[in-house]
């Protein structure tokens, strides 16, 4: 497996709420709003379908898993969502853990054991703000998330 950027398409299939264009580092991205504590789903294409040749000519579903993280742009830290997503799963549902702007990133992790020693390889991260690998409504375009703190329920006077 070559250490190249994962040429797959990241698609947000379950949006928080409305989206609008917001400029980040000079590029227009779509911004999806939502709440912490609410489920969102991110989907990506089967890399073997998208790029049947290089860099996935040796893509191996038996040894490869997807690794999904989200990066907090405001405070510059990363939260691991999962690093054991099976290679035949192309959608993952999770909760955004804290408020702020978040960028999902995904890559392929390959673990092979040779002579009792694990060898781990990764592709480069593909991230949702990269319009060459991300889509909004079928159009190549970067996107990211903003999560508000999930509100309490209504006040009840028993």
């Amino acid at each position: 497996m070559k250490a190249m950027k994962l040429l797959m398409i990241i698609i947000l299939i379950s949006i928080f709420s409305i989206a609008h264009a917001q400029t980040w580092e000079g590029i227009d991205h779509y911004l999806y709003y939502g709440d912490t504590g609410k489920d969102i789903s991110v989907a990506w294409a089967d890399p073997k379908v998208i790029t049947p040749e290089d860099p996935f000519d040796d893509y191996n579903p038996l040894t490869d898993v997807f690794e999904l993280i989200i990066y907090n742009k405001d405070r510059d830290y990363t939260v691991k969502i999962s690093d054991v997503i099976p290679a035949d799963v192309f959608e993952w549902t999770f909760k955004v853990p804290k408020v702020g702007h978040w960028v999902p990133k995904i890559r392929v992790k390959r673990v092979e054991t040779v002579d009792g020693v694990d060898s781990i390889e990764y592709t480069e991260w593909s991230e949702s703000t990269d319009p060459t690998v991300a889509q909004v409504n079928g159009i190549d375009r970067g996107w990211w998330l903003f999560a508000w703190l999930d509100a309490t329920g209504p006040i009840i006077i028993p």
């Binding site: 709440d35 408020v99 999930d150 209504p154």
Partner: protein, 107 residues
């Protein structure tokens, strides 16, 4: 010492795992309650159904109110971010005890 009446409210706690407490805001009606209104920390202790219960008559700062008030509650995370406020308007609150009666006379 006088005894304040009970006035209990409850609200379903935020789903966010990083919520550390909740703020109760109040303002005398008809002014709208917002994040600049007086507030008090009411904690994040949930009952078995996930509700947070508050007896307003026992909350310091609220326990001396007398009038019609708009109140709101907002979840707060460990960094101080506050969620959208859940509100209840035009609540008649009166925690001020009446004047005491005169001395007991034995006839």
């Amino acid at each position: 010492m006088a005894k304040a009446a009970e006035f209990k409210i409850r609200f379903l706690a935020s789903d966010s795992p990083d919520v550390t407490t909740n703020k109760l805001y109040w303002v005398e009606a008809p002014a709208p309650v917002d994040y600049t209104s007086p507030w008090v920390d009411v904690g994040n202790v949930k009952d078995v159904d996930g509700f947070i219960n508050v007896d307003l008559g026992a909350v310091l700062g609220v326990h001396q109110l007398d009038g019609v008030f708009n109140i709101g509650v907002a979840a707060v995370d460990d960094l101080g971010n506050e969620a959208d406020m859940s509100k209840a308007n035009d609540l008649p609150l009166d925690f001020v005890a009446p004047n005491p009666v005169g001395n007991i006379e034995i006839l």
